[in-house]
């Protein structure tokens, strides 16, 4: 297993637990989509995995070693890339410079060049728009730049927090397609998606989160057909 989470509890400040004993495991090459209502703890789970939020209890094993509580930069170096919700490009920098920021921690120039070329192959937009200011791109284009920046580090696990939020349908389809492409090339992906139908339709596996725990896990398409999921998250009556 690439990622094994057991009994994970976490919360913010002196508040109560948001995550209340999450158990989740991802094998190498998995593509898992987390769905669930607002406040279920989806984003919090991603933050705990990438080290932004320190877990209170429980274990997070990445590639066999316990990494719970490690600093984000160390986890980043181990191969966990987090693409947070919203815009996270450097808006005043050019697209090319944004990509260079992704390669910042790579010391070997040859390797950095290689990785940048790989990122450019996945996301041709970073070459086409190389000299434009990132802030001038559309939301979907910026998301692609963020994803390109994340894969420059050649991550083993990519965490994506609602990458299609606020994107027009075509852009959101492109982003989803890019994720599937990355997954086909061996990147393990954990995706949080508000739009359950697209998310479950794209990912191999789906997980339903509720009140800080994983309630259901199953094959993406099968979850879509599950009457309970339909009633709760897809806004359809169970009778359909």
């Amino acid at each position: 297993m690439l990622l094994e989470i057991e009994g994970l509890c976490a919360g913010y400040g002196s508040g109560g637990d948001i995550l209340r004993g999450v158990d989740l495991s991802l094998a190498e090459g998995d593509f898992v989509c987390l769905i669930g209502p607002n406040g279920a703890g989806k984003s919090t789970l991603l933050r705990a995995i990438s080290g932004i939020l320190r877990p209170r209890r429980g274990t997070i094993r990445f590639d066999g070693t316990d990494v719970a509580g490690l600093r984000p930069d160390l986890l980043f170096r181990r191969g966990i890339a987090h693409v947070p919700q919203g815009r996270s490009t450097f808006p005043q920098m050019t697209v090319h410079e944004n990509l260079l920021m992704g390669a910042y921690s790579i010391r070997d120039r040859g390797l950095a060049r290689e990785r940048l070329e790989v990122a450019a192959a996945f996301f041709p937009i970073v070459v086409e728009q190389a000299n434009r200011r990132a802030g001038l791109l559309s939301g979907g284009e910026q998301k692609q730049v963020e994803m390109a920046r994340a894969i420059v580090t050649s991550p083993r696990l990519m965490l994506l927090d609602e990458p299609t939020l606020g994107l027009e349908p075509r852009a959101s389809r492109t982003v989803m397609a890019k994720m599937r492409e990355l997954n086909e090339h061996g990147v393990t992906i954990l995706l949080v998606e508000q739009n359950a139908r697209t998310g479950l339709g794209t990912a191999r596996t789906g997980c339903v989160m509720e009140l800080g725990t994983i309630k259901l896990r199953g094959e993406g398409q099968r979850l879509l057909d599950d009457p309970q999921v339909k009633r709760l998250y897809l806004g359809e009556s169970a009778a359909v």
Binding site: M93, A103, Y104, R113, V126
Partner: protein
């Protein structure tokens, strides 16, 4: 070659041979001060433009340079032209120390600390009477050169300082270090997350930034043959640097140079035009007006406004990064 490569080289050649043609002290003096301000502005912009941390303390390092160079020549007989580079390094070390105190935190505390530094060091210069001569100042021995050529070492000295400042600034802008500084300006948290050692970078940028002020102060002290606490720590010097960078465009290589070449001659011309009794005040008022106009109508400065009108890139390239993708992480 492109215009932006050729033009500076032509100008440099021109300035190198100019003293042969122009012997009038007034013009050489004007250019000398313009070089000095341009060099310090380029230095200021490394911190204030690239990394986005506004320093109000550059004159403190200018004064520090003046005093250290002055004391070295008065007490140990070391000529200023010999000690100037080391004075610059010393200013950089002191700058790193001040940065270590003030730059580990983010945001505005830095501005206040740099401003305070100027006053602290001025008080030191004022009160260490036995060493610095207190408020009556320090007289430096005159250079033993004929009167009509005595200005030349300073003219060329400041020109060399300016060229070095531009080359350092250019090198930083083309490096990974420069990219990291821009990332700090854009959003420090994200820069941190991308693997930029933000504290170290800010301290380093500040040290480099103030070292030019230190050298300029050293040469300036010998040029006037005199240092006193009022002259060496005049806040207007820092303000001049900021106005020059704003006029020319912050965060660009040539902005500070352009700003200095516009503002300095303009204010000298105003001093020359107006009756001597009010000259000092009038040019300060004019400087204030220029600042207000720039902030109101051209907040991005000349170069950025110009390039964005032409290129439609919104803003000038914040950094002269390598053009091609593969050159990437250099």
């Amino acid at each position: 070659m492109k215009l932006r490569t050729v033009f500076p080289i032509v100008m440099l050649g021109l300035f190198l041979v100019l003293p042969i043609v122009v012997r009038e002290g007034f013009y050489l003096d004007l250019l000398l001060f313009t070089f000095m301000y341009a060099a310090m502005s380029v230095g200021w912009d490394i911190m204030g433009g690239l990394a986005g941390y506004v320093s109000l303390g550059h004159v403190g390092f200018f004064g520090l340079g003046s005093y250290v160079a002055g004391l070295l020549v008065v007490h140990f007989g070391i000529p200023v032209f010999l000690s100037a580079p080391f004075v610059g390094i010393l200013a950089g070390i002191v700058g790193a120390g001040l940065g270590w105190i003030s730059l580990r935190a983010r945001g505005t505390s830095f501005v206040i600390v740099t401003l305070t530094f100027t006053y602290v060091i001025q008080l030191v210069a004022l009160n260490l009477r036995d060493i610095t001569g207190g408020s009556s100042g320090l007289y430096l021995p005159l250079l033993t050169l004929p009167a009509d050529v005595v200005i030349l070492p300073f003219y060329y000295g400041m020109l060399v300082l300016l060229v070095v400042a531009i080359l350092v600034s250019l090198a930083i802008r083309r490096s990974k270090f420069g990219l990291g500084l821009v990332a700090i300006r854009e959003e420090e948290g994200k820069a941190d997350g991308s693997g930029v050692n933000t504290s170290l970078y800010k301290i380093l940028a500040f040290a480099i930034s103030v070292s030019f002020a230190g050298v300029a102060g050293a040469l300036h002290a010998q040029y006037l043959n005199y240092v006193d606490p009022d002259l060496a720590f005049e806040l207007i010097i820092t303000l001049n640097l900021i106005i020059m960078c704003l006029v020319g465009s912050r965060g660009t290589l040539w902005g500070p140079v352009l700003g200095a070449f516009l503002v300095q001659p303009l204010s000298q011309y105003l001093i020359y035009l107006t009756p001597s009794g009010i000259a000092g005040q009038v040019h300060l008022v004019a400087l204030g007006v220029v600042l207000v106009l720039v902030v109101m109508f051209m907040p991005d400065g000349i170069i950025t406004t110009w390039t964005s009108r032409r290129g439609g890139r919104g803003r000038a390239r914040p950094v002269d990064a390598p053009e091609r993708l593969p050159e990437a992480a250099t």
